[in-house]
Symmetry: C2
Subunit: 523 residues, 2 copies
């Protein structure tokens, strides 16, 4: 017998088994599984009444909260496609994504009413705007819609190959691309995470990661699957993170490396009260070993490093610990955990290949591109056959990430291919240089980019954020790095800045830094 693989199945089961258990905590609002899933049904019923049909797209622009979660379980019930939009984009970006997705309904938080107002005239295909908060003129009110939807929607047959969500890439190099994630993709990704990182109904998950980002990595689905608690948080401000962890007895959270750095450096009076043993999944960018080491030693938390891309649902590797790693000292363990690791049991095959598609030697040195094939790889880019064909050429998804494979099979990303600095014919991994900089006690964050150089082609330039009370000069940092790196890898210039430009998910925007390079001056 075959029944469709879909995360909707998690909701069906949790509704039956965990009805009375707490499902969602969002500020003062608390919903049990029965209440939360009934709200999802009502929203689905309301959307059906508004004319949303199988295959239609429903866009949502909202910070982490119960309505965002509800949209994930409401829209797909109709066989419709949820389009979670990065709320940190500009109104023009919103317009592009809404038009490109062809969304017929837009759901938005009050923070974005103004932005929508600016672009609304151009959104000809949008039939309804739904307000998550007091509805302006021309908007429908979310809670009124739910209250008015007495009947659950008529059951819609969903195939596992149907598209569940379109998640737009950040588009740092080109127009954002709409990644089509199927029901089977999302199911597989969620189950794979649970196999490698067990969760139970005793878990209380803190939403430090934006739900829109690759469907919260997996947590939109896995938390519900095991009957755990979604503790919502609109933005991962360290003080708010500390407060929620203590007040809600959080056991588990996710954080991009820059968010980890923020947590490690937040107000000390809050940090002191944090419980030990919180499990943290880090992904989204390669974490420095120094960051992992600090979180594990100073907070007593346990970090698991996973890796993937929006196009892979997202997880394709996890840095699993093996029995032979048990004797490792903390610093060596942190170095191991900073690697991307190995393919999940469910993710399919992951390789690092040269330009001819041949696997690179497992020598910890030869750079290749990470490619993947399996059931977490997207169906394709929405309305972009050419980009789909390019990304999936030869039957493998091409990540654009430059990595080595160690003799034990563990993959380590050295850079995005586009961020590799080529200086005097040598490859310089910006991530390696950043990792070395982060070992300096005065350095809080660092980003290294290549800038054109008449003699060397490119040379590395560093942008450095110092810790609150600390100080360091460019000469000191240069000397520090010369003791740790080949000399050609040491940045020729250092620029001290107050903060680094980041995406909504905490990735450093190197293209912004490259555009700023004219402002760099040697210190």
């Amino acid at each position: 017998m075959e029944t469709p693989l879909t995360p909707l199945e998690f909701a069906r089961r949790s509704r039956k088994l965990y009805a009375a258990r707490e499902a969602v905590v969002d500020g003062e609002r608390r919903f049990s599984y029965a209440e939360f899933l009934a709200r999802c049904d009502r929203f689905a019923g309301a959307l059906a009444q508004l004319g949303v049909r199988k295959g239609d797209r429903v866009a949502i622009i909202a910070p982490n909260g119960h309505a965002m979660l509800e949209s994930f379980y409401a829209v797909p019930q109709l066989g419709a496609i949820v389009v979670p939009i990065n709320y940190r984009l500009t109104p023009e970006d919103f317009a592009y994504l809404i038009k490109h997705s062809g969304a017929c309904v837009v759901v938005a938080h009050p923070d974005y009413f103004q932005a929508i107002a600016q672009i609304r005239r151009g959104l000809k295909r949008v039939r309804h705007f739904v307000a998550l908060g007091e509805a302006p003129a021309g908007w429908l009110d979310y809670e009124s819609l739910l209250a008015g939807a007495a009947h659950p929607p008529a059951p819609v047959t969903v195939k596992e190959s149907d598209v569940l969500a379109i998640n737009y890439t950040s588009g740092t190099t080109s127009r954002p691309k709409g990644v089509m994630i199927t029901h089977r993709n999302a199911w597989m990704n969620s189950i794979g995470f649970l196999v490698h990182h067990p969760m139970t109904g005793a878990d209380r998950y803190l939403w430090t990661l934006p739900m829109f980002h690759a469907n919260g990595w997996t947590f939109v689905w896995t938390v519900t699957a095991v009957g755990a608690v979604h503790v919502c948080l609109p933005r991962p401000d360290p003080a708010a993170v500390y407060e929620r962890i203590v007040a809600e007895r959080v056991t588990l959270l996710c954080a991009a490396p820059t968010v980890l750095i923020g947590i490690a450096n937040g107000p000390e009076e809050g940090r002191r009260r944090l419980p030990r043993g919180v499990r943290v999944i880090t992904a989204g960018a390669p974490p420095a070993a120094a960051t992992i080491g600090r979180i594990e030693s100073e907070l007593g938390w346990q970090i698991t490093h996973a890796y993937g891309l929006t196009e892979t649902s997202p997880l394709i590797t996890v840095c699993e610990l093996r029995p032979e790693h048990a004797p490792l000292q903390p610093a060596d363990l942190a170095t191991l955990k900073s690697r991307q690791g190995v393919e999940l049991i469910t993710s399919g095959e992951v390789r690092v290949v040269d330009e001819h598609g041949e696997e690179v030697p497992h020598d910890g040195a030869t750079l290749g591109e990470i490619v993947a094939r399996g059931n977490v790889v997207m169906k394709g880019y929405y309305r972009d056959a050419k980009a789909t064909e390019q990304a999936l050429r030869g039957g493998w998804f091409h990540s654009g990430d430059a990595a080595v494979v160690h003799p034990d099979g563990y993959i380590e990303i050295r850079d995005r291919f586009k961020d590799v600095i080529i200086s005097g014919g040598e490859n310089i991994s910006s991530i390696e240089v950043e990792g070395a900089l982060l070992q300096h006690p005065a350095v809080r964050e660092a980003a290294v980019v290549g800038v054109p150089d008449t003699r060397w082609g490119e040379t590395p330039h560093a942008f450095v954020v110092l810790r609150g009370e600390a100080s360091a000069t460019a000469a000191e940092l240069r000397e520090f790095l010369r003791a740790r790196l080949a000399h050609f890898k040491v940045p020729s210039e250092f620029k001290f800045v107050d903060e680094l430009p980041k995406t909504a998910t905490g990735k450093i925007q190197k293209y912004v830094l490259r555009n700023r390079r004219s402002a760099i001056s040697a210190q």
Copy 2:
């Protein structure tokens, strides 16, 4: 992207990641993953040379050991179907199963050469007999075949809906039926187990359960998937179990309830040396709370109770512990764990229904039949469309198990429908009466069956095995039960026996006891 769901994928990944790790321990022989999987390839290559093609059936009759494991990873590589045969059957049974499956190759352990010799003339479709041990005339030698197969077989495309194995039911009520398990079924069952009962590469699994039985519940596949160690054991004799656990630092094993009873009652000098913390999965028959309580309190082991049937790959429920169970006292925890529990996240939907297919109330009292639908339900019975249609009527697999649902949604089997005793119009669960008997300190094992009675229709009769040194009379047991059960449930007669008839997997054969009922006499 979609790639086939198949347990062969576990082998592909483990070969790549765990090549140097120990895979199989079988007496004096030890194989790494590289060696074990190379042997599987060689066996596949040899079978291909013998003419085995996609869809062909290969039968194997062997106790737990490396060759049995190898057959599971060799035969399906060719797209062929493995037919693991219960080695405790008679030569006539072997003949029936080999002929019914249409196997073209039979692989057998020396213990069964004699049985095969008796039936060989009738096995017209079998082209080759492969000996796991010194080959008699007319047999091929397994190790020579492997040594002679230098090339791995040409890759065969496998679809996830292809049949992986045919597992024959025990056939206590009719001719054995051949349960067709697809690649997707087996993959799903394995992954589901790992989600609910995490395993890692640090685990060392003891094969106390026959590998032939529903593909070792899941362990043929899951142990390999996580890169753990298969510790083989031909038969679960308590002294041998103790020795292997200590010598091989076993962390995990499976046992039907009768095997658990054997372990709890084995030689004390061996029992004393057992490590605490061993995880045990029990299934195959409903375990008594008293048995669970003894293993957990006396040995300090942790029991997880799962439930399923050969037709469901096999697992459809697991007795998961929830945060609200944390305060339970040991006896109440054992009672909880004796229930079959709730559907797995991956197994699909499980219900207890009345004769009209409606769910029974969740009142812990109303008896219904367990039915299931989802991706672990078999493709059907091989060459038996009528039985398939009957078992899968209405789109649900009908288990034949009579159960109640508690208010918390936990399912508890009260009996096989055919074992329910109907006395004076009242249903008596033989399992309930057995569970009460097992609480008596002198009782080691018990089985209760209904025997015809002119006044009541049926009355319960008990077969009792006493503990080694203990004694008890029928009058004592009757009084003991009257204090614990409604009087109409107390057996009218007690028969003390040295042992109970059991299947290869440790299930008590109640039909044998019913046939013996003429021998019962009141004590």
